[in-house]
Symmetry: C2
DNA sequence: TACTATCCGGAACATCGTTCCGTTTTGTCA
DNA sequence: TGACAAAACGGAACGATGTTCCGGATAGTA
């Protein structure tokens, strides 16, 4: 594959991820092309259908999200802070995931395969973060990764409603994991 | 309200219902206007947003479907035949209903209200048809209207898949209600 | 019958998906 | 290195669709 083609593909994946989070998976192709600094034709060559693009972003985000786990853990002060940041990435990812289900009305077997890939890759990472935070005495032990990720996934359903901000609720949920109570500015 | 305005509104409701069934609730506005024999501007005056139109069709179909029950019962040879025809209307109605859920991502309280109206109005009609067919000895007794309608509603999920024809399955389900077996042409 | 408020129709504009082709870039081979 | 062919790019152009707008038609009324 030619170097410029690879560059553009990467730029497109990054741009599409941003635009999807900001405007949903129905965002105009032009906007993605513009943000990536390429022409619209380039998008269609790399990703003939919208589902192709969404799927690719999905895969890409699974990988990015999985790799970010250990990095955050190493670079952050406390394991819990790392967990919080990682969950934020995870929510970005869910936006694409939920859009994906729409964009793939057909081919539901392919979707199931992707979902399996998603679980296999991300569950251990989440477990590692939880274990680290529990080991450091920050949060209670015994939280099951699947349960947490599933719950967060469900909280993200219906995120299109401007009256409903999943991230706020997820923040509260994470506060609830803490052993010594939420660290919020004390009133008075 | 002026007479021509009323005429157009009725024509639009009828045309939209047909087009929705044929092409889903995302069908082009122009096509509905054309089928109704009006201009596109007329649609926007009567129904400023697509959700308005879909909602109106929904209400209209609830009423039409409810009124068709007794009429079919009176005009048809057997109560079971009437039930079959009525279920067919009901499935048409569900197409709109499922589309409605998409077209109303916001305002989910309004959707709940409509759903209640739908149950209140249609359950008794279905019950009447079931009772008549059971009374005539055509089908087994004890079928609960809610159960039947709920089941048919669920069978209609995912009707966009060309591989999946809900009506065929619903036909089988109805055959299963019969006391003396399905009336299909005997092989050989 | 004349008049006005209302309504209608569809042209016109804006947006978006998709295709197409002249131009540019890249990798390779002499 | 320098030319060349294959690959990729960009964005203009086209068609389909949503939405607006206003000149003209029409229904109701005095």
């Amino acid at each position: 594959m030619r170097a410029d083609a690879l560059r553009n593909q990467q730029a497109l994946l990054a741009a599409a991820a941003e635009v999807f989070v900001a405007s949903g998976v129905d965002a105009p192709i032009r906007r993605i092309a513009e943000k990536a600094g390429v022409g619209t034709g380039t998008i269609y060559r790399h990703f003939p259908t919208r589902a192709d693009l969404v799927t690719a972003v999905y895969r890409h985000q699974i990988e990015e999200c999985a790799q970010a786990g250990p990095e955050l853990l190493a670079g952050s002060g406390s394991p819990f802070a790392a967990l919080r940041q990682w969950i934020d990435l995870f929510v970005d990812f869910l936006v694409t995931k939920h859009g994906l289900a729409d964009a793939m009305q057909s081919d539901s077997s392919g979707f199931a395969a992707l979902h399996g890939q998603f679980l296999d890759r991300l569950l251990p990472v989440c477990g590692q973060l939880l274990d680290a935070a529990a080991g450091a005495g920050e949060i209670r032990a015994g939280i099951r990764p699947y349960e947490l990720m599933r719950g967060i996934g469900n909280l993200c359903i219906g995120g299109a409603d401007p009256q409903y901000d999943p991230r706020r609720l997820i923040g509260l949920l994470l506060d609830g994991l803490l052993l010594d109570g939420p660290r919020r500015p004390r009133p008075e």
